[in-house]
């Protein structure tokens, strides 16, 4: 258990499926809407630009990005790679149930990524550690 801002919060641990293994720590940014990296995110800034998206106008740079799955063009895999090169990519990613676009994007960009996680348990602002098949957050 951690002590934070005067209240006690339980540290939670969940297990998922490794898509790209690694250890990373950061702040969660959570959405319940699928993300299209090609056309939906500006690779130069990391800001979500898809009209009407919950995260529209918000940067995913250096976050632990938590979302159900990817959508849209398969070119999105290359967009993630481009963001990693630009320094605008998320630090790590967590999906409910992933698909090929984000999975391939994470592998070629070497971004730690797991799926099969009940993402509704995670809130934006949570501190998260991804460690191989395990996530720890509070």
């Amino acid at each position: 258990m951690f002590r934070s801002s005067g209240e006690w919060k339980m540290e939670q641990e969940l297990k998922g499926r490794i898509i790209y293994k690694g250890k990373v720590e950061g702040e969660a940014l959570v959405t319940n809407m699928p993300i299209s990296f090609y056309g939906g995110v500006d690779p130069n800034t990391g800001v979500v630009i898809e009209k009407g998206h919950e995260l529209e106008g918000i940067s995913i740079k250096n976050k632990i990005l938590v979302f159900p799955q990817g959508k849209g063009s398969t070119v999105g895999s290359y967009t993630l790679y481009r963001m990693k090169k630009n320094g605008t990519a998320p630090k790590g990613m967590i999906n409910k149930e992933t698909e090929t676009i984000v999975a391939v994007g994470a592998i070629i960009s070497e971004i730690p990524f797991i799926d099969k996680i009940d993402i509704v348990k995670i809130n934006t602002g949570n501190k998260i550690i991804i460690e191989n098949e395990k996530i720890i957050f509070r």
Partner: protein, 400 residues
């Protein structure tokens, strides 16, 4: 997923970076989709070729693979963002051309045939019935699965490249009999008169049988160009990349007609045209060849445009592969079309060239072409080859 010793060695990096990265992709996809093993593929078709879509990072990734290895099976390439020889005449900037050439050069170093076409089956990458392949490019995937009876999932650019470097793909989805069973009967209760009617049918099926494998009845005849057009449309508008047509496509005898039936009648075809067509009479861009033109389609264009002149405010593109264009050169079709003011757009197409803002209104035979041109902010009209060429000559849609 179970790996052989040799596959495990590739995953461990024994064959270098390109093969290791490729194995990581294939194994991850295999795990995601519960594949038991990898299977050999006979050929690969790679999409993600236009610099317009790849950007510098994509180019950098391709370069890193090209520095390290060669593909193991016959691998062909999707259209690029420009005609590789004649880009200046098609309004491409030198900056774009330089980058696009670097992309092509990287693919070449990997040992990939720089075919730059969405119709690999017309230029020598022709898989056999039952053959496992790993193709990207949705219209070609649909054609291979349905018209040829080969087996492929709808790969993305990087997963197709991975299959090419390893010579294998994870065995799941449309590689397996149980996932190739049709799940909706589509009764076509209307005649199809012209090429674009097949695009309209594809639109109607995409909407009525979204994410399903249709089993079509009521179609009496079909030719290569009609099926090519239909494949592109159905998958663009939402169907799975596999269909059966009773009496026409292979393997249909082994399947049972699904009980659930949807009907397509003349009104559905008309509604498809109404949805695809915008309200515009002025046309400033006519493009035929989505998917890329066959030699027969080019012959038809030459016959129709002979001794006519394209309007000075209109640009007419015939999109095809360089291989087919060379046939057209020899047959004299190219000279006829160019004398009329038409241009050939080889190696590229209206879906991947950087065309945003260049044209106001497109006329085409292709429902898929209309879908992608809307993203390029064009109004669209779909019709027969004859109607499109009349629009090219008049600068107006259906003036007569």
């Amino acid at each position: 997923m179970e790996l052989t010793k040799q596959e495990q060695a590739m995953l461990d990096g024994k064959e270098g970076y390109a093969v290791r990265k490729s194995m990581e992709i294939l194994v991850a996809l295999g795990e995601i989709f519960d594949a038991k093993n990898l299977i050999d593929v006979g050929s690969v078709q790679v999409s993600g070729v236009s610099y317009h879509n790849l950007g510098d990072a994509g180019l950098e990734f391709l370069d890193s693979l090209a520095n390290d290895g060669k593909v193991k099976v016959l691998t062909t390439l999707n259209p690029a963002g420009m005609d590789l020889e004649n880009w200046q005449q098609l309004g491409i900037t030198p900056e774009f051309a330089d980058k696009q050439n670097l992309v092509i050069e990287a693919f070449q170093r990997m040992g990939i045939l720089v075919s730059c076409t969405c119709t690999p089956y017309l230029i020598g990458n022709l898989p056999l019935y039952g053959e496992h392949i790993a193709w990207s490019e949705s219209s070609a995937v649909t054609f291979a699965n349905s018209v040829l009876g080969a087996r492929t999932n709808r790969e993305g650019g990087p997963s197709a490249l991975a299959a090419a470097f390893v010579g294998k793909t994870p065995c799941y989805g449309l590689h397996l009999d149980e996932n190739r069973v049709p799940d909706v009967h589509v009764e076509v209760k209307t005649e199809l008169f012209k090429l674009s009617d097949w695009g309209a049918l594809g639109y109607a099926i995409g909407k009525k049988a979204e994410n399903k494998i249709p089993y079509l009845t009521g179609i009496k005849t079909a030719n290569l160009d009609e099926l090519k057009n239909f494949c592109a449309s159905a998958v663009t508008y939402g169907a799975k990349p596999l269909f059966y047509i009773k009496g026409i496509t292979p393997g249909v005898e082994q399947q049972i007609q699904p009980k659930k039936t949807v009907i397509i009648n003349a009104e559905d075809i008309k509604n498809a045209y109404d949805s695809i067509n915008d309200n515009t009479d002025e046309i400033d861009f006519v493009c035929i060849g989505c998917p890329h033109c066959s030699i027969k389609e080019i012959q038809e264009i030459a016959d129709l445009i002979q001794d006519k002149k394209v309007d000075k405010n209109v640009e007419l593109w015939v999109a095809t592969s360089r291989t087919i264009k060379q046939l057209a050169d020899k047959r004299g079709y190219t000279a006829i079309i160019e004398a009329a003011g038409g241009k050939f757009a080889c190696d590229t197409c209206m879906a991947v060239a950087p065309l945003k803002g260049r044209f106001k209104a497109l006329a085409t035979t292709s429902a898929k072409g209309c879908f992608y041109s809307r993203q390029n902010l064009m109004k669209t009209k779909m019709g027969s080859t004859k109607e499109c060429l009349e629009a090219a000559v008049n600068g107006k849609w259906n003036k007569n």
